[in-house]
């Protein structure tokens, strides 16, 4: 309700354009009734109110309406009608063919102001405020239409506003092929819900989006968590967008590793693939110009990375303290800055970004607890990162590049992903598409790169889209470390079961890495060369059913 009031007052402020719209006070089957009503209103409003005969669904109707009005006269007449408690709807000068969805919301008008005389329409059967059925019947061309003159939508018009809500429920199981190194369960079941509420007004030029997420997990209390994925208001200008609030922003082009994607914190308990992100509070201005798109972001506040708990799988062999350390004295309240310019020229597209703020990847400080247990404390330094992402299409080849240089987290370092995707459409004599993906993931720090598993790795993958009714698709890939025998095999597939059910499976298999015993000395476990040791027992297959409402 508050929103609606807000939307109306905002809209009123912005409607300075001259109109020639009309107010309609009802339609009658009887010409006499219409005439009486028109005379009564003319006298009361001191404004010429006329009767217009119409033919609607082969019936004669008589519409009581004002003459075309300027915006000022329109507002004045509407105020008088409001205070008299007379209901009405607005007729658009060039959109008379679709009246049904452009009426004034009668709910707002239903209560007349206190003390205002309430006029009753002459005939209770012929309620004036009811909109006429659409005159744009099939096979019956619109009677009047001025193409190219824009439809000016009124501020109080519900046509200019829209709202919808949808939500989904995910039921997920994860089956691990062996017991965890620290005795964690082999089976994990969880349920998640994600809502999305949207409300727009002024033809969606102003809007609010709210999207909370919740997961409840059977095995890991840390994986039971909630997040506001999105909660932002938007304002859309002629060549700019402004979003204020928590939202998600993705940067990048490669498939197996999202190197330059830095705006949002990773929701690591959701998935190891770092594609799930926490909502990041921000003020985000996007400008579109002839020279490309400029995104300017003030990131107001910091989100800490989520980590699986002691009972969870896919975790490091140490307890991670909840209490993180920050380089910035402002800790989580520091405002970071991110900007990105992007442009395209035919088959080439490029983005260049700079980020200055608290690193989304924590460094870890090993601490020895009083019971001699080694624990890790996340440390978030302040970094500067400059990077590029680019893509070039040549025939059915796409060549991809992501690169960055980061300072502030250890010595300045550079990292890059280069790769290609080649797509074959209509393979196997069917409508199916197949994409062959090859990527090389490089980090100049080598094994010392504590914040990534990929520092000198080759990834090969295949993406199959059957393009069938069920939209069956699968992505199979292997990421192999060039230096050793460390492999990660990954599979993602999904298939629609009905219009509201989606089935998906996901598998990750780790092999070839150094496997350490649970009681291995801390220095071995902390050795960067053993980074994947903690994943070697965590091969799993995940099955999920998702229902959309």
């Amino acid at each position: 309700m508050l929103l609606r009031a807000l939307s109306i007052s905002l809209a009123l402020l912005c409607s300075v354009v001259a109109h020639a719209d009309q107010l309609v006070f009802g339609s009658f089957k009887s010409a006499v009734n219409a005439q009486n009503w028109a005379q009564k209103l003319s006298a009361q409003f001191d404004q010429s109110i006329v009767v217009v005969p119409l033919k609607i669904e082969d019936e004669n109707r008589y519409r009581v309406q004002s003459e075309p009005l300027t915006e000022t006269a329109f507002l004045a007449l509407r105020r008088r009608a409001d205070s008299a408690g007379v209901s009405y709807w607005r007729l658009y000068k060039d959109a008379s063919e679709s009246l049904t969805d452009k009426r004034t919301n009668s709910a707002i008008r239903s209560t007349p102001p206190l003390g205002a005389p309430r006029l009753q329409p002459p005939s209770p059967v012929e309620t004036p405020a009811r909109p006429e059925p659409s005159t744009q019947q099939r096979n019956q061309p619109a009677q009047q239409s001025t193409v190219n003159s824009s439809t000016l939508r009124g501020p109080e018009s519900p046509a200019g506003s829209s709202a919808d809500m949808q939500w989904d429920l995910g039921l997920q199981t994860r089956s691990f092929f062996s017991e965890g190194t620290f005795g964690q369960d082999q089976f994990e079941a969880s349920a998640s819900v994600e809502f999305q509420y949207y409300r727009g007004w002024q033809d969606d030029r102003r809007s609010i989006t709210v999207s909370p997420f919740l997961r409840v997990d059977s095995a890991d209390p840390e994986r039971t968590h909630a997040d506001l994925r999105e909660f932002f208001v938007s304002s859309v200008g002629d060549n700019w967008d402004l979003h204020v609030g928590a939202k998600r922003v993705f940067w990048g082009v490669t498939e197996f590793h999202h190197l330059v994607d830095i705006v949002n914190q990773t929701d690591l308990v959701e998935n190891l693939d770092t594609e799930d992100k926490l909502g990041q509070p921000m003020v985000h201005l996007s400008l579109i110009r002839a020279w490309g798109v400029l995104d300017l972001m003030l990131l107001t506040g910091f989100r800490e990375r989520t980590f699986p708990g002691s009972d969870g799988r896919l975790r490091v062999p140490f307890k991670i303290l909840d209490d993180a350390e920050y380089e910035s004295g402002a800790e989580q309240l520091r405002t970071d800055v991110a900007l990105r310019w992007s442009h395209y020229l035919g088959p080439f597209e490029v983005g260049v970004h700079h980020f200055s703020g608290t690193s989304r990847d924590p460094s870890f400080i090993p601490l020895v607890a009083p019971n001699n247990e080694v624990v890790l404390q996340p440390f978030y330094p302040v970094i500067d990162q400059t990077g590029v992402d680019a893509q070039l299409f040549v025939g059915d080849w796409a060549f991809k590049l992501e690169g960055l240089s980061r300072s502030g987290q250890g010595d300045r370092y550079a990292a890059a992903n280069v790769g290609f995707e080649r797509t074959f459409v209509r393979v196997f004599d069917s409508g199916a598409d197949f994409g062959l993906i090859g990527e090389y993931l490089y980090d100049e720090r080598g094994d010392d790169a504590f914040n990534t598993l990929f520092e000198n790795d080759v990834a090969i993958g295949g993406r199959l889209s059957l393009n069938d009714f069920a939209d069956t698709k699968a992505l199979l890939g292997v990421i192999a470390d060039v230096n050793n025998n460390d492999y990660l095999l990954t599979l993602e597939a999904s298939r629609r079961l009905s219009n509201s059910w989606l089935f998906s499976i996901e598998g990750r298999f780790f092999t070839g890495g150094n496997k350490l015993p649970p009681d291995a000395p801390a220095q071995d476990v902390l050795d960067p060369g053993n980074k994947t040791a903690w994943l070697q027992d965590d091969d799993y297959l995940q099955v999920e059913f998702k229902k959309f409402f």
Binding site: S150, T423, D471
Partner: protein
């Protein structure tokens, strides 16, 4: 034997008079398409809802709902933004196309789950659109300049006098060797299109019906039906709620930042 002879002799007699008549047939083909194009031009902008009904050879059906916004550009090809509304799992996915008069079109897909915008490779335009019998190419707004035309003959379709005109895409990435349009002579509306593959086999047939006049000027088919002659599958497009003169602006409503607003 006479049949074979006839077949053999026809091209020979044809060849002697081709030089003039070929140029004339090409000019007439272009003229017909130009007229058809002009009758669809000047709409400014529009929005329309589309229901796709996908049907297997056995008759099993499934449905997709889309919302389409379109805008004319003064010196460029049309802008089109297609938003997917159902099935629910692809809701919010959107496809933005910038057609160009002579340069290759630009096309981007927005995937809401990752908030990711992906450019679509031109070569992949003959991939199936949403599992339907339509390809991305079939649904693009064609620019006159990108095809060669050849008028074939006058004919009659459903008691309607039509022109039969062949169209060949200049792009090497087209999925068809040629398309044969049946265009009615009264209003220059396509009534039927036959699609041919590289081996010159007819693979698909598109029929238009339920034409309605919108905004006093524009004939729009309310119903289009594409049949795959090889698989027996078909896709129906049902267009509804045409609205013209919305007041779109290209940067605001058809740019990459507009695409990112899809939900």
């Amino acid at each position: 034997m006479t049949g074979l002879l006839l077949v053999l002799t026809l091209p020979v007699t044809g060849a002697t008079k081709t030089v003039d008549s070929l140029a004339a047939a090409q000019a007439k083909g272009l003229q017909i398409f130009t007229e058809a194009d002009q009758r669809q031009s000047g709409y400014g902008d529009m929005e329309v809802a589309l229901t796709m009904i996908l049907r297997t050879a056995k008759g099993t059906e499934t449905e997709r709902k889309l919302n389409i916004r379109q805008m004319e550009m003064p010196d460029d090809g049309d802008r089109v933004l297609i938003e997917f509304e159902s099935p629910a799992d692809i809701r919010g996915t959107a496809l933005l196309s910038h057609a160009h008069k002579t340069a290759d079109d630009d096309q981007w897909l927005f995937l809401p789950a990752l908030q990711r915008t992906k450019k679509v490779a031109l070569k992949n335009r003959n991939g199936a659109f949403l599992g339907s019998e339509f390809t991305f190419e079939d649904l693009a707004v064609p620019e006159l300049e990108k095809y060669d035309y050849l008028y074939l003959r006058d004919d009659v379709l459903d008691d309607m006098p039509v022109f039969v005109v062949q169209r060949i895409a200049r792009s090497k990435y087209s999925g068809y060797s040629r398309e044969v349009f049946w265009i009615d002579q009264e209003h220059f509306r396509p009534q039927q299109v036959e699609y041919f593959d590289a081996e010159d086999r007819q693979t698909k047939l598109l029929r238009f019906s339920d034409y309605q006049l919108h905004a006093d000027r524009f004939w729009k088919a309310g119903h289009m039906s594409m049949s795959n002659l090889e698989t027996g599958k078909s896709t129906d497009l049902i267009w509804h709620d045409y609205r013209f003169g919305i007041g779109f602006q290209s940067d605001r409503d058809f740019s990459i930042i507009a695409l990112r607003r899809s939900r």
